[in-house]
Amino acid sequence: MKYILMMNTPERGPYSIFNWPKRDFEAHIAYWNSLNKELERLGELVAVEGLTSPDQAKLIRAGKDGTPVTDGVFPESKEFLAGYWIVDVESPERAYEIAARASAAPGPGGTALNMAIEVRQVMARRPDETP
């Protein structure tokens, strides 16, 4: 079963890795790399993507003639998606376990960030009919 693990930006302010000391930033990135490698080695990784910072985000709606109407940029903190994993695992518990690992990524000073990771099951695109 596939799950998407959505990492939301920490509650206060945008995901501010850009201002971290070098060592903390490196430890943070190394943590992601090793988690991703491990998921790949276990045959569980379907996709992983990081998104550009939330202060670049825009909201789009169709205008009357169908042309895009843009709202944003949002300089202040709103809850935004920083990145996501799609994993293919054998149980929901395993998806939660991976989410907890992602949540515990180290922040400034090496302290775990404990970010909220939203876990949602990805719906199958195929009919599921047991004979």
Partner: protein, 414 residues
């Protein structure tokens, strides 16, 4: 080299030979994981060279030779590595007697491989991918495509499964008679899971080579040939044929699910139905009834009704009662309730469903709501039906199923 494509016949030949070649190479060199890689390389070599040079006179021997050469190369480099590391000498050429190039045991090899791949040390998902690769001869890319995961992810899964085999220390030989019976149960379960996976994915007319339902049927046929007297093997093959016969009718033009009672029965595959019916009739007359046989018998009764109203629900209900006695599966209770509703009316079916409310395995499962909705609709209680259709749509993790259930609720609500 002129790139070419294998014709369908050579492709089928390659896949039939794949497990035999692997069996011969594993028997000679013992190292399953490395042998499997070597055989994959030999298969790739064949698919590149045969279109250009023609299929060799002894294709099996050709493949064994190419794979063995790869194995020797690998062992030489391994030996060199070990020599460097431990300075211990190792005589590669004397490792094992030469692979018997045209032995009479190729069929046994396929079974031994199946038993190995469906080893109880492996989880079912691992056993499935390994069986498809080692016995089915599918490439990693094809298996990845069938399970909708990236190729690198699937490669890792296969490699982990091979490591588990290695770690389990399972020897490459036929298990003794008692163990064989137990292992055959795992083999059938794995084939059944492959079939279900494939049956769900085969939408539309463009059937692919990596079509898992076809692959499961092909493998079940092979197992049936090897164990012609085993009733459950025959039952599983019949069940697959009788279910797969409805494949074209079960999905509509827009990819939506078409339930059994709404299917255009002229689209059913008559040839598969008559083969399945003949097989299950012969098997049932031999005694020793098991769950695959009963499921096949039920599928046969559905398939034999030209119109939905001709369905013999009395027989289906009786078969589900038998199935309930030998299998502790809540889905069986669910289907039994539907059959009972068709015979005695929806109130009887709804009453039978109550037993499932206390079953933790069914808690929150959309199928219980979906069946209740259906039975409430039969009873004319549309409000309850709508509520249960919606609850089921909310709970399913499957998009076509969700769409179908939502449509049912909307139809009754309008």
């Amino acid at each position: 080299m002129t790139p070419g494509f294998l014709d369908t016949r050579s492709e089928l030949l390659l896949r039939e030979l794949a497990p035999q070649v692997l069996g011969a190479v594993v028997r000679r060199f013992s190292d399953f994981a490395a042998a499997e890689d070597a055989v994959q390389e030999a298969l790739i070599a064949a698919s590149l060279r045969w279109p250009r040079d023609g299929v060799p006179d002894y294709p099996r021997a050709w493949l064994i030779q190419v794979a063995s050469r790869r194995m020797l190369d690998y062992l030489r480099s391994e030996t060199a590595r070990r020599l460097r590391e431990t300075a211990a000498a190792m005589e590669v050429e004397n490792l094992a007697p030469a692979a018997d190039l045209e032995s009479t045991t190729q069929q046994d090899d396929t079974v031994v491989l199946l038993f190995m791949c469906c080893h109880p040390a492996l989880t079912p998902p691992s056993a499935i991918v390994l069986t498809l690769r080692a016995v089915g001869g599918l490439t990693t890319a094809e298996i990845a495509n069938a399970f909708l995961v990236p190729e690198s992810t699937m490669a890792q899964r296969i490699s982990r499964a091979k490591q588990s085999i290695k770690a389990s220390g399972a020897p490459f030989r036929m298990p003794d008679a008692t163990e064989r019976t137990a292992r055959l149960v795992s083999v059938l379960h794995v084939l059944y899971l492959i079939f279900n996976e494939g049956y769900s994915s085969s939408i539309g007319p463009d059937l692919q080579r990596s079509d898992l339902a076809n692959e499961a049927i092909r493998l079940a046929r092979a197992v049936h040939q090897l164990f012609p007297d085993d009733c459950e093997v025959a039952g599983l093959l019949a069940l697959m044929l009788l279910t797969d016969a409805r494949r074209l009718a079960r999905v509509g033009q827009e990819g939506e699910l078409v339930p059994l009672d709404k299917q255009d029965r002229t689209l059913w595959n008559e040839k598969a139905i008559s083969e399945g019916v003949a097989l299950i009739s012969q098997t049932l007359s031999r005694g020793s009834v098991g769950s695959y046989q009963l499921q096949a018998a039920i599928a046969a009764i559905h398939d034999e009704a030209d119109r939905v109203e001709d369905t013999d629900w009395h027989q289906i209900m009786a078969l589900y009662s038998l199935l309930k006695r030998i299998s502790d599966n809540p889905m069986v209770t669910l289907n039994h309730a539907v059959a009972a509703a068709m015979v005695h009316g929806p109130a009887t079916g709804l009453k039978l469903l109550e037993a499932l409310d206390a079953d933790a395995r069914m808690a929150g499962h959309y199928r219980l709501d979906a069946v209740r909705a259906h039975l409430f609709e039969m009873a004319g209680d549309h409000l309850s039906a709508i509520a249960h259709y919606r609850a089921a749509a909310h709970r399913t993790t499957n998009i076509p199923e969700r769409d179908y259930l939502t449509m049912q609720a909307a139809r009754l609500a309008s």
